[in-house]
Symmetry: C2
Subunit: 764 residues, 2 copies
């Protein structure tokens, strides 16, 4: 037995070496390894300490072979991934096999986290953007002591009801939900239990497990940019010369697929522009994608592109076994504080597999029993499937006490901070815990029919500015349309490299990254309420990010103006038609289309009160009158009566409108009433909220007996038949828009009072 | 009067100088200009000829000022834009004012086109990716002699029913339709009349005006990549040592906004990878976007990024007046044949406006009467609005005879080519004119219920391979999922830099660019039938491009596999839910979800026969049986009965399914019939096609009297109430998917025969 020091001794030794600088000395030339680590007592100025030990080989069956503990840990990660994919006969073993070394170094040597409280605020964030390799992270979380990934969970990889991944039925159980599917971005907390944590008297985690997200390729790095933005913003706002209370890194692993997606270039251009120095991305440069060698479609110079984007770039040529190279790269990356860093790590996909390494066949399929055996042979791995050698287990076990210590120390530090900086501490706590001030809703403006007509995009700006005063976590901006979307917070400046404490974010013309960055901000801390804006039609550019908001329960507010043909001259490329329908069909989205001032305020109220659902506000370019009968409370019901001259819940006809067409419905009702009809006008501002109401309430608004119904909306009629029924009529637009002044288009397209009156007479 | 040579003389002079090399000599040091031009009689090896003349100033009111004709032409372009935007009080004058010099040089000196036949096959293509500046192109087309943009059209800019832009009601009139909205990409033909052209006995333009497109930012450059790909492909396939029958350039102007969009990086990475040497992009580097200076969000090094992407990069520092710099850059770009070229042209947005130039205020709003006057003063422009000085008019008038000569020469050349290369000529003609072989449909495979079950993605591949043999314009590929989407054409190799004659395109993980590139291919020549593929859920990444396919009538075939929870373990990020509904709501899309072999063949038949509508095929990962009663003819009706044991068009219940769930509906029907019920099973493969049928036909499939209807589809129920009516039942999925083997998810989500039977009993 070559090892001269047991793990318990090693752990002890680390304590001794704390505060010492990292040393390069080694006690043995063949089996030494180093553990750079963190000093729990000096978190505000991280210094690494090192000790060197020889590997213990208590479980090495072949006693003649000496395996370093790092290599053993790395191989443990590899085989947990191999075994889980094999058992599921489904999954992606290649990336975990290639990325195990960087994964090991990050989770074992570099990152600060508390496995028993994955939602600890000041933890380092980790994003696996190339998330088809999610078994890498499952294995790491398992080793690090997260309760969410026990051995039995690994064995249930990709099975119904499992936690690795689980399934999304239980939205009550945060974290579990996010383990479903092909996980692309997960963070430290993403696999946790997520019972509410009451971490300390300081931190009341009402929203315990907010960090979780799935996303198709490229979105992970954009989420990472959002996380790093959030850290930079909070640090600038709350850190004091004597207390860096916000201070963590964001690490991302991304692959060739992420690099090819346009969203990653958008997000990385912004990261460079903002100088996000604490964003460190590992590019797993393995030259293999599903269709084979990346040579067939991806021959650009990635290093040079990132330099052009303002990143610091480092190349680790041997990512398979070059542990010290990886460590040195991270050290260098941390030293560059004014730029994000890309560490290109050249790896071999499926490293260790003698016949499948470096081929696409190891990318997305189980190795097969024969090749698993060959790989075991090749890497000298004599263990049963899913086995974690005792020495590896013991080695990783220190993260539980160390993580607790890290958090405890931070809590103590926060208590100190709170004493000195009461106001700031309260604000930060509100962001950490999503504590809304008791009277925040009073900030929302209210309107009467006498209030002059205004565009709902302008009313939206009034709401945003009012809310920014009472919601410390409100932050956001537009994709180069701030002055059209009306999203500027007047009391704040621009979030920029030199002014990160400000709250107006300038995303440039990068809708997709904007959405994904906002997801990252939302998931950084529950009290963040990110909003982002563009023209409603350009949700097409960011739809994949909006879907991820909905799936991972990120309560982003999408401020989408110019919501119909009502925008006029810009024409059909800018006029949404099918967009309302397309989002009403998307699960867990709140699609809101307010008609006036009160409904706009109500929409913001709903958005703020639904942190687990993204809200999309469709807002008008054109002026709309404030209608009698609209209300904030009505919006919360989704659909409600704004006027009715009938009795006994039996009007002759029900007119249903949303947004800018509610005015038309109301005007048509006036005329019909003059002719003696009893008419109810219903605002249908959010279908989802209406769906959530009781049957009694629904019957009170849309009584089954009244089949004479007419809907009017300047968009696709698709879906409206559910509301108006077989005997009702829908007025809408089922073709593309046109370029002309808005009033002209409305008339030509038949979105008129006259059309409503005529339809009402037909059905009643 | 300083000019010593009249334009008519100048035009004559050019003929004399044809075949001579470009000379730098000038006859006058103050007002000389050069006209590099093309020799109509030597198109196969372009050589530029030059003559120098002095400007005529017949209409210069201030006779003391000498204005060169080029400058005068450039200012004409500027003021046409200024005046049109001013009259409309809406639009973007800034870009035309800054880009007028490069626009002038391209249209007047460089490009080969025939204004009287904008659809001439071998014309140079031009794409205005930064298309909010569409008045630039309107002005150029007007000067160049296109009949589509007369003076009165310029005066109707952005008005209802105008041609600049018009409106999309008249889908019959190609070109007119594409002028609507905020035009982002238009080509030479995009504003033309588009009556069918019968250009010569050789060219029968059944699809006369195919080149047109609109698109939000970033898509234009991707379309340009598609155009250049198409040229490179056709040139490699059809050119002969003695005849370069395919030989044109693709020019693009893109702005800062295009550069920020991720899609442009995706597309340009591919352009570099493919070495598209005849793609020349002008980057209008004006430092202004809507929100102000690009410094606020866009500080990357664009030159370096493009070098990283494999482009040749040239910087023209003075784009405002540096005509010779621009000319030299184009010359250099043409000399680089193995790489696309980016010419960064630094311009001043709103050049000439004394108070608004170089500010965002000139980007998207009219200058205002006062500033228009000041600009007239500043640029020495004494003319009335919309006036084109006679000398400018006269100068541009030569493009009509020259364009006709260019085309006539090409036609003669083609006639020669056809004599020598009969087969190739026939194939090329088929691509130019979309001539489908008489018996092409016979290539489609047919199936019987005895044919073994198969996944529709596999059946799709059989169709693609069968069609590739008979449709010379079929070309396409996948976004790194060829082996999952099953899209490889087995008889062809990969389209790559060195093998551009092949037809399998490898797009890498770049869905958005893939869609927009296919739009470009489709619009290059009507006989191109581009297809592209990814997982159905990732249509979210390319939705903006699909919408543009629909809007500009590009008949791209979207091969979208893994179309439901039926894909199993990959989980909710990969499982489409709302996607069918979202495309059914999108105008002009054919959303097809075939259930088996015959329906897959029928879907391809529909796709090929609808060149003006994009078709989206939603295909299964899992095997599906070939069902009795399905047919190619049935698919063409959109919805049709596959089995019925009732008589008199009065079944007890109608079961309606699509795709993989049609099998479930059929099985439920079998059981219900055993219990004595009369049951009709309807396949609802395409809602849009069903909508197009006569009322009689619809009644024959879904009789109004039968309200007992049940739909089943493994996707959102959104929209289905229109089909099943108020008394019907919908079986579907209105939440996100889950990760498990497919059969398990179907069961847990209630997408089962039992659920159909139970619902059928409830309603009947």
């Amino acid at each position: 037995m070559a090892s001269s020091l047991h793990l318990s001794q090693a752990f002890l030794a680390r304590a001794v070496y704390l505060n010492s600088d990292r040393t390069a000395s080694s006690l043995s030339s063949t089996s030494t390894l180093s553990f750079p680590t963190l000093k729990p007592s000096s978190l505000s100025r991280r210094r690494t300490a090192t000790t060197t030990i020889r590997a213990t080989a208590v479980e090495t069956l072949d006693k003649t072979a000496e395996v370093s503990l790092v290599e053993k840990s790395v191989n443990t990660i590899r085989f947990l991934a191999i075994d889980a994919v094999e058992k599921a006969n489904s999954g992606h073993p290649g990336l975990p096999m290639g990325c195990a070394p960087m994964g090991h170094i990050l989770y074992d040597e570099i990152m600060r986290y508390n496995p028993k409280n994955p939602s600890w605020f000041n933890r380092d964030r980790f994003v696996l953007s190339a998330g088809h390799g999610c078994m890498l992270q499952y294995a790491l979380l398992h080793l690090a002591g997260y309760d969410s990934v026990k051995e039995e969970d690994l064995k249930q990889f990709r099975q119904w009801g499992s936690k690795t991944p689980g399934h999304p039925e239980n939205f009550e159980t945060y974290g579990i939900e996010v383990t479903t599917g092909l996980i692309i971005i997960i963070c430290l907390i993403s696999l946790c239990y997520c019972e509410p944590f009451f971490v300390s008297s300081v931190m009341n985690f009402n929203y315990p497990c907010i960090f979780c997200c799935l996303g198709p390729l490229g979105q992970g790095i954009a989420n990472g940019v959002g996380l790093a933005l959030a850290e930079k913003h909070l640090a600038a706002r709350f850190n004091k010369p004597d207390s860096e209370i916000v201070d963590h890194y964001t690490y991302v692993i991304l692959g060739d697929g992420c690099q090819m997606e346009g969203i990653s270039n958008e997000a990385c251009s912004l990261a460079g522009h903002w100088g996000l120095g604490k964003l460190i991305a590992f590019y797993d440069d393995n030259h293999i994608s599903i269709d084979g060698d990346t040579e067939i479609a991806f021959t650009e110079n990635v290093d040079q592109r990132f330099e052009a984007l303002g990143w610091h770039v480092i190349w680790v040529k041997n990512g398979n076994t070059g542990y010290d190279e990886i460590r040195a790269a991270i050290k260098e990356a941390k030293a560059v504080t004014d730029k994000p860093t890309l560490i290109k790590v050249t790896t071999t996909i499926g490293f260790g597999s003698p016949n499948k390494a470096n081929s696409y066949s190891v990318h997305g399929a189980a190795l097969g029993a024969k090749e698993v055996d060959a790989t075991r042979q090749n890497l000298g791995w004599p263990y049963e499937p899913f086995h974690v050698p005792e020495d590896v287990k013991k080695h990783w076990s220190r993260h539980t006490p160390e993580g607790a210590a890290l958090e405890a120390e931070w809590n103590a530090k926060f208590a100190e901070y709170e004493k000195k900086y009461k106001e700031e501490a309260a604000e930060l706590k509100a962001i950490i815990n999503r504590e809304l001030p008791a009277d925040w809703e009073k900030a929302l403006p209210t309107y009467t029919p006498e209030t002059p007509a205004d565009a709902t995009r302008n009313l939206s700006q009034a709401n945003l500015n009012a809310l920014a005063k009472v919601l410390p976590g409100l932050i956001g901006g537009s994709a180069d349309l701030a002055s059209s979307n009306m999203t500027l917070l007047k009391q704040f400046g621009d979030f920029q490299k030199a002014t990160p404490e400000e709250r107006n974010v300038r995303f440039g013309v990068r809708e997709h990254a904007m959405g994904a960055i906002c997801n990252g901000i939302a998931l950084h801390s529950p009290g963040f309420i990110p909003y982002c804006a563009t023209f409603f039609v350009f949700t097409d550019y960011m739809r994949a990010a909006i879907r991820i908001s909905a799936l991972c329960e990120a309560g982003v507010i999408y401020v989408m103006t110019h919501d119909s043909i009502g925008l006029g001259e810009d024409g059909p490329t800018h006029q949404p038609i099918e967009h309302l329908a397309s989002f009403r069909a998307m699960p867990n989205v709140l699609m809101l289309r307010p008609a006036d001032g009160n409904e706009t305020a109500g929409s913001y109220r709903v958005a703020v009160l639904n942190p687990k659902r993204p809200s999309i506000l469709a807002l008008s370019r054109q002026k709309l009158p404030n209608l009698p009968g609209t209300s904030i409370e009505g919006v919360e019901k989704g659909g409600y009566t704004i006027s009715d001259n009938s009795s006994g819940n039996k009007p002759d006809v029900i007119l249903i409108g949303t947004g800018s067409e509610l005015e038309i419905a109301a005007a048509a009702a006036d005329d019909l009433r003059k002719e003696g009809k009893t008419v109810r006008v219903v605002s249908f501002v959010s279908w989802e909220l209406f769906d959530d109401q009781s049957d009694e309430y629904k019957e009170s608004v849309l009584p089954a007996a009244v089949t004479a119904r007419v809907s009017i909306e300047a968009g696709s009629t698709f879906g409206w038949h559910k509301i108006v029924g077989s005997k009702g009529k829908t007025i809408g637009i089922d073709r593309f828009g046109a370029s002309a002044p808005a009033g002209k288009i409305y008339k030509e397209y038949g979105i008129t009072k006259e059309a409503v009156i005529s339809a009402a007479k037909e059905v009643s």
